[in-house]
């Protein structure tokens, strides 16, 4: 058997050569810049959802497939709250903040309940069981919203007003794009601080390293895991509100695609690694945008998942997965 990695190494230059020759033919720096800007923004959308995904995995090694559905439900809650507030005569940022708060509250409740019902009973089961339970929870929630609300698309209001100071560069960066970028970076930093320097963060790391031992030294493991799910779900809610007001439409199925892309971003960056999720998201977004911009958008997902395969062949633990020895 020959060395697989060597073969992958040979494939990579071929891919790069075709890619850059395509770039070279039509070198147009403004276009390239526009694509890069679009790619970074798209990537930070993926990263925003991937952060919660990767955090939950980092602590309890469970791929929470229902994460995308929490994101979707939060968007619905925000949609309803924003609608009610707008009807009651509120406007501007107060609607955004209130809608986001209620959505986060709902998401926290869903995250907590989901863990209690779908994952806690399976904590000592073989690893495959909670995974299947997660997929089941995801399908259940999607269909539940479809039946309880609507299978149609709903127009999500643009909750972020247009900032005047962005007027000159609005072509590259709209106000909602800026907010998503900032929130993604702030969330990444806050999560890192939380896990590295706070009491609960220490408890989370202990739980991740050895659940039995953590319990022996007096950590309430159940509560730590609940907290993990609540934080993860709140992050999904932030994503739901912001991304909903960027795309301008939601329906019961949006969580699926979001979940898949966020999962890809998390794995790309090294699942369980918080800065890795952001890096993975941005690499994914830029790769998709460049591929779509220079080759064909029909193959956007082919570039995304092709890149994932390539990176995992070369670095099986993801981009940042190995550099950080401890996965939290």
């Amino acid at each position: 058997m020959y060395n697989d990695r060597e073969q992958a190494g040979a494939c990579l230059p071929v891919f790069c050569a075709t890619f850059f020759s395509a770039v070279g033919q039509t070198m147009d720096y403004e276009y390239l810049f526009e694509l890069l800007a679009g790619g970074v923004i798209k990537g930070s959308i993926y990263a925003l959802i991937a952060l919660g995904y990767t955090m939950v995995y980092g602590i309890i090694q469970l791929i929470n497939f229902a994460h995308g559905e929490i994101y979707m439900i939060s968007a619905f809650v925000a949609f309803i709250v924003a609608g009610v507030l707008t009807m009651a005569g509120h406007g501007g940022l107060s609607v955004l903040v209130l809608a986001a708060l209620v959505a986060m509250l709902y998401a926290a409740a869903y995250g907590y309940t989901l863990e209690r019902i779908a994952y806690r009973p399976l904590r000592n089961a073989p690893r495959l069981s909670p995974l299947i339970s997660a997929i089941g929870a995801s399908i259940f929630l999607m269909n539940y919203v479809q039946l309880a609300q609507t299978p149609d698309f709903l127009p999500f209001p643009a909750l972020v007003p247009d900032f005047e100071f962005l007027e000159p560069v609005a072509r590259y960066l709209s106000s909602i794009d800026l907010i998503i970028l900032v929130v993604t970076v702030v969330t990444m930093l806050a999560l890192t601080v939380l896990i590295k320097y706070t009491r609960i963060g220490k408890a989370m790391r202990a739980t991740q390293q050895d659940m039995v031992m953590a319990r022996l030294v007096g950590i309430n493991v159940d509560r730590v895991i609940s907290a993990t799910f609540i934080i993860g779900s709140v992050l999904a809610a932030i994503g739901g509100v912001l991304i909903g007001s960027r795309t301008g439409q939601i329906n019961a199925a949006i969580g699926f695609m979001a979940g898949i892309k966020a999962f890809t971003a998390a794995v790309l960056g090294g699942i369980g690694n918080i800065p890795g999720a952001v890096l993975g998201g941005i690499v994914l977004g830029v790769a998709e945008t460049l591929g779509a911009g220079y080759i064909s958008s029909a193959y956007e997902d082919v570039f995304a998942f092709g890149l994932l395969v390539l990176i995992l062949i070369v670095r099986p633990a993801g981009l940042l997965g190995k550099a950080v020895r401890q996965k939290v």
């Binding site: 694509l35 679009g38 798209k42 149609d152 072509r171 795309t247 301008g248 329906n251 911009g293 956007e300």
Partner: protein, 379 residues
């Protein structure tokens, strides 16, 4: 919009009903000297709603006509057969109609079933007029000189969109985008072909997009880079809304035209302000024709409900057939074909006659534009 594909998908169900479906319903005496009008389409099964309105229309028209003395003194006899939109049943019922001496067939309804039956009618020199088979090759291939239809073919929409963009809008560079689905890509392909054939404009960009994606910025930047002066989009309203919202955000202001998949309230609701000024092709407004209102009122009076899908087209097909029989004063195959192509007749879809290949002239699609939050016909 009925395609062959639908038919194949349906063919798993209820083969048991074949025997029952071949029932004939002779409405008047079986005297030798009647005009035998076949009505073929799905009358049972899940596609029945597409076939029943035409059958009902036929019963209405023929009952009235016979009460008034028939055509040139001859009574019209209906021969109703059910093909359930399945090609294999369609060939059976077609053979049955032929063996019983049918003169003209109204049908079939689904494209796949129609194609299966047409060969049998062609060999027997029987004319078939479909109210709903939209598959382009049925007429365009030239294989079936005995086939006529009162509905526009699938490629008409794409042609109309292309003609509008290159003609009225005067675009020289056109971007064609689609959602990679059968419907959207079909429309996009027909549009692209028509733009290229016209020679008036160039397709500078032809791209599929991923339905359900969260962001289309790359495609939108490409529209700007290629300098497209109009966008033809094949797909449904969620993607159209997302594209438009992002185009507006990126300050790309070019006309945008889509197929009837975006011409509806769903699009207006989701796209909101971004919908303003957008063009869409859609079925022509037939409510302005006097005969349309009369036919619909007669139907409501007789059946106590709104007429269903393809009622107008079915009614038109029957009137066209009866008119041809009247003009020819007989049922000679060649003469009937000639009459259909040369003598116009008032129908619920306008005054129609058929072109050399069998497509009704003057039926089809118009272009609409969103103005003040509603679609109005673009003049």
């Amino acid at each position: 919009m009925l395609r062959g594909g639908t038919v194949v998908g349906m063919s798993g169900v209820a083969g048991l009903l074949v025997a029952a479906s071949c029932l004939l319903l002779p409405l008047s005496s079986l005297a030798a000297d009647t005009i035998k009008l076949g009505i073929a389409g799905p009358h049972t099964g899940d596609l029945a709603p597409y076939g029943l309105p035409t059958r009902d229309a036929a019963e209405m028209i023929v009952a009235d006509l016979n009460a008034k003395g028939g055509i040139n003194g001859k009574q019209v006899e209906l021969m109703v057969v059910d093909d359930q939109c399945k090609p294999e049943i369609a060939t059976n019922v077609a053979a049955k109609l032929v063996s019983q001496g049918v003169n003209v067939v109204i049908g079939h309804v689904c494209s796949g079933a129609t194609k299966a039956a047409l060969g049998i009618y062609k060999d027997a020199k029987v004319i078939a007029i479909s109210p709903s088979a939209t598959n382009p090759p049925l007429t365009k291939s030239g294989d079936y000189p005995n086939f006529f239809r009162t509905i526009a073919a699938d490629d008409e929409q794409g042609k109309i969109a292309a003609a509008f963009v290159t003609g009225k809008l005067g675009a020289k560079k056109v971007a064609v985008i689609h959602d990679k689905g059968d419907y959207g890509k079909g429309f996009a392909d027909f549009s692209k072909e028509a733009v290229e054939k016209s020679g008036k404009a160039q397709v500078v960009m032809y791209e599929g997009i991923q339905p359900g994606a969260m962001d289309y910025s790359a495609v939108i930047q490409k529209i700007r880079k290629e300098g497209a002066e109009a966008v033809i989009f094949g797909g449904y309203h969620p993607e159209a809304s997302k594209l438009l919202a992002q185009m507006n955000k990126k300050q790309i202001k070019v006309p945008f035209i889509g197929p009837d998949g975006i011409k509806g309230d769903g699009f207006l609701k989701i796209a909101g302000k971004d919908a303003e000024g957008v063009y869409a092709t859609g079925p022509m407004d037939v409510s302005r024709y006097a005969l349309n209102a009369k036919a619909r009122n007669d139907y409501k009076a007789r059946y106590g409900k709104e007429p269903g899908t393809f009622f107008d087209q079915g009614y038109a097909a029957i009137l066209a057939a009866l008119n041809a029989v009247k003009v020819v004063n007989g049922t000679n195959y060649e003469a009937l074909g000639k009459a259909l192509k040369s003598s116009p007749v008032e129908t619920p879809v306008g005054k129609i006659k058929f072109d050399a290949r069998g497509d009704a002239e003057g039926v089809g699609f118009s272009v609409y534009q969103v103005k003040n939050g509603a679609f109005v016909e673009a003049k």
